[in-house]
């Protein structure tokens, strides 16, 4: 294996390609986390986007119509999550998991009924996204969204209100903010972003749809939000970790490493990063509990029950995590 031949311009390009869908979905998850909805349906929203993008492009003959269809489909699907979890108050984790599985079944169903293919739909006449300097426009959009998110969250009234709704909904409500409206808008917007992520995957990275083609990228996006502590730059760096591992893995596969290892590597690295960050967060918390300097945000008082970790409450529908 030649390591010298692995890092070059072509690798940088494939890193960006691998990064884009995860980054778009992670930005979607970031917004939801900030507004206090734990969205683990990113995977399913993205998959619906993949299908809608291919179907839209196929029937209109225009890739941008595909992107528009993906955005609308993502928003419609996210609307289900937002109606059930925000309006009805259902457990967002249960609804999110079920939505992911619904997306797998629904897209396989539609591929057969609408596109008349089984498993994979591919056609030379299917229009993919145009490339600008060998990248799809959505890649540039996703990178531009990161500073835009920083500005939105730190400098705009809407951004502040959104975070207020997530952090202290009671206080936000007492200031006359319609918290449910904010949550609905954010969750539906996250569907649009996941739709873009799906379009990038099925019309940018490749030009086809195949069953379950997101293959866990939405889950990686969920982890990226945790690793980046729901901050745009941090989330970008976490998503980049996935992009680099994915691209290097594909390259190593070209050099003869069994594909089983290279396809699993990005998920293994993501898990290891999650463990590393959790260890560090735990160490910082312990330092604070001993009376160390409380720097930064989120200095929560020590819990009266040391044996229960706050993270486990996510399983019961609480939205605080990491």
């Amino acid at each position: 294996m030649e390591w010298g031949g692995i890092f070059d311009w072509a690798l940088f390009e494939s890193v960006l390609r691998a990064l884009t869908p995860v980054l778009l979905a992670a930005l979607a998850g970031l917004l939801c986390t900030r507004v206090g909805v734990f969205n683990i349906g990113l995977e399913g929203l993205m998959l619906i986007g993949c299908f809608a993008a291919v179907a839209g492009s196929w029937f209109s003959g225009n890739a941008w119509m595909g992107v528009a269809a993906a955005v609308l489909a993502g928003m419609a699907m996210a609307g289900i999550l937002s109606y059930f979890s925000v309006t009805l108050g259902a457990d967002a984790i249960i609804v999110g998991i079920a939505l992911n599985l619904l997306a797998v079944g629904l897209t396989s169903f539609l591929v057969r009924t609408v596109l008349g293919a089984q498993g994979t739909f591919q056609d030379p006449d299917l229009k993919g996204l145009p490339l600008i300097f060998s990248q799809s426009p959505l890649t540039y959009l996703s990178l531009a969204l990161v500073p835009a998110f920083v500005f939105f969250l730190r400098r705009t009234v809407w951004g502040f209100r959104l975070q207020g709704v997530g952090e202290v909904p009671g206080a936000a409500r007492s200031l006359g903010i319609n918290t449910h409206l904010y949550q609905h808008m954010v969750v539906v917007a996250s569907g649009a972003l996941c739709g873009l992520a799906g379009a990038q995957l099925s019309l940018g990275n490749v030009v086809l749809f195949s069953d379950n083609m997101t293959a866990g990228r939405g889950w990686v996006a969920v982890v990226a939000v945790m690793l980046g502590q729901a901050a745009p730059i941090g989330t970008l760096l976490a998503a980049l970790l996935f992009g680099v591992t994915d691209a290097v893995g594909v390259r190593l596969q070209g050099q003869g490493l069994p594909s089983q290892f290279t396809t699993a590597a990005p998920y293994a690295i993501t898990l290891i990063a999650l463990i590393a960050v959790s260890v560090r967060a735990r160490a910082v918390a312990r330092h604070r509990a001993r009376g160390g300097p409380t720097s930064g945000r989120g200095g929560s008082p020590p819990t009266p029950l040391p044996s229960t970790s706050p993270v486990t409450s996510t399983a019961q529908g609480d939205t605080t995590h990491v």
Partner: protein, 340 residues
């Protein structure tokens, strides 16, 4: 009795609405919903289909219990694929290492080893959550990817049966082949045993009470002196063990070998997960829901043969039931709060 009927009401509403959604999808696909549902019933429970349903139900019920046990304590085990595959590949490895054992020793050895490996795979995310705060929901899921990849590698390279040209291991030695009784496999006996153990623990043992209590309110349970961290370790190990045994049951039944992808592609794990959610983690309910979803799946294939509707309709119905049920339960909870 009245309370039990009331508890079932949201489930029946969710089922009814999901069937309505299914009927609409059949109409849109150009088929008559009555013919469609008749095909599902006939295909799953009729003379042609019932033994397929039983075979599938064994695996789905196992996968459902692997989720229901941790879910009873409020933990969502998304690592079923890794636990299932880990158990399946372990059974093959045991058979490869000890090929000459008689059935009476060989099969139990393989199943126990598979259960232990599954338990370890389930235990790790719980341990990581307890000790360093890694969210179990995510870590259990991510852990599956390397395990599935490793098993796939083993099947495609060191354990490959080179004669067939397919990614599968050689046929297991006769001692590891599950005996059959008529049309039903011995796997049914194994699963009945597992179901019995889980129900006894849940209903009749203090541990079951503590698990339920933890699921209802973890902080309060910890405050009243129950070691909830240990419970998390035990239910995840238990769930993983059941999934591991299910994996072993797949490879020790026809075609008596590990075919790469055959444990994942049929979606046993996710069908089981939805069944556990439909039963709201009640073990008896998980068995009923598992059989029901297995029948729906088998019926879906019949539906595809009889009409224009693809069999994926059954997965859509399963997920739809859970989404509507979550909404109905939330509405119910709000109503009862208002009354009080």
């Amino acid at each position: 009795m009245k309370a039990q009927v009331a508890a079932l009401r949201p489930m029946l509403i969710a089922l009814g609405l999901a069937l309505l959604v299914g009927a609409v999808m059949m109409l849109v696909s150009g088929s008559n919903p009555i013919t469609g549902y008749a095909a599902i019933l006939e295909g799953s429970l009729g003379p042609e289909g019932w033994s397929t349903t039983v075979t599938l139900a064994i695996l789905v019920v196992g996968s459902a219990l692997a989720v229901a046990l941790p879910l009873r304590a409020g933990l969502v085990n998304l690592g079923g694929e890794g636990q299932l595959v880990g158990g399946g590949i372990t059974a093959v490895l045991v058979a490869t290492a000890l090929p000459d054992l008689p059935t009476a020793i060989a099969l139990p050895t393989a199943l126990v080893a598979a259960g232990l490996v599954g338990a370890l795979i389930g235990f790790l995310p719980a341990l990581m959550e307890n000790s360093i705060g890694v969210p179990l929901l995510i870590s259990s899921l991510l852990l599956s990817y390397p395990i599935v990849a490793l098993a796939s590698y083993l099947v495609r390279f060191p354990l490959l049966d080179e004669g067939t040209g397919l990614p599968q291991t050689e046929i297991l030695p006769s001692g590891y082949q599950m005996p059959e009784f008529g049309e039903v496999s011995g796997a049914l006996v194994v699963m009945a045993l597992i179901v019995a153990v889980v129900i006894v623990i849940d209903r009749a043992m203090p541990a079951g009470y503590e698990i339920r209590l933890t699921g209802l309110n973890r902080n309060f349970t910890a405050y009243s002196g129950v070691r909830v961290d240990d419970i998390a370790l035990r239910v995840m190990a238990g769930g993983g063990a059941i999934a591991g045994v299910v994996g072993a049951l797949i490879v020790t039944n026809f075609p008596y070998r590990y075919v790469d992808g055959s444990l994942i592609t049929p979606g046993y794990v996710w069908t089981g997960l939805l069944a556990a959610m439909l039963a709201r983690a009640n073990p008896i309910g998980a068995v009923v829901a598992g059989v029901f979803f297995a029948a729906l799946q088998v019926g879906g294939s019949a539906l595809e043969r009889e009409t224009f509707v693809p069999r994926e309709l059954s997965s859509i119905l399963q997920a739809t039931v859970i989404i509507i049920l979550a909404g109905a339960l939330a509405l119910n909870a709000r109503k009862s709060q208002k009354v009080a």
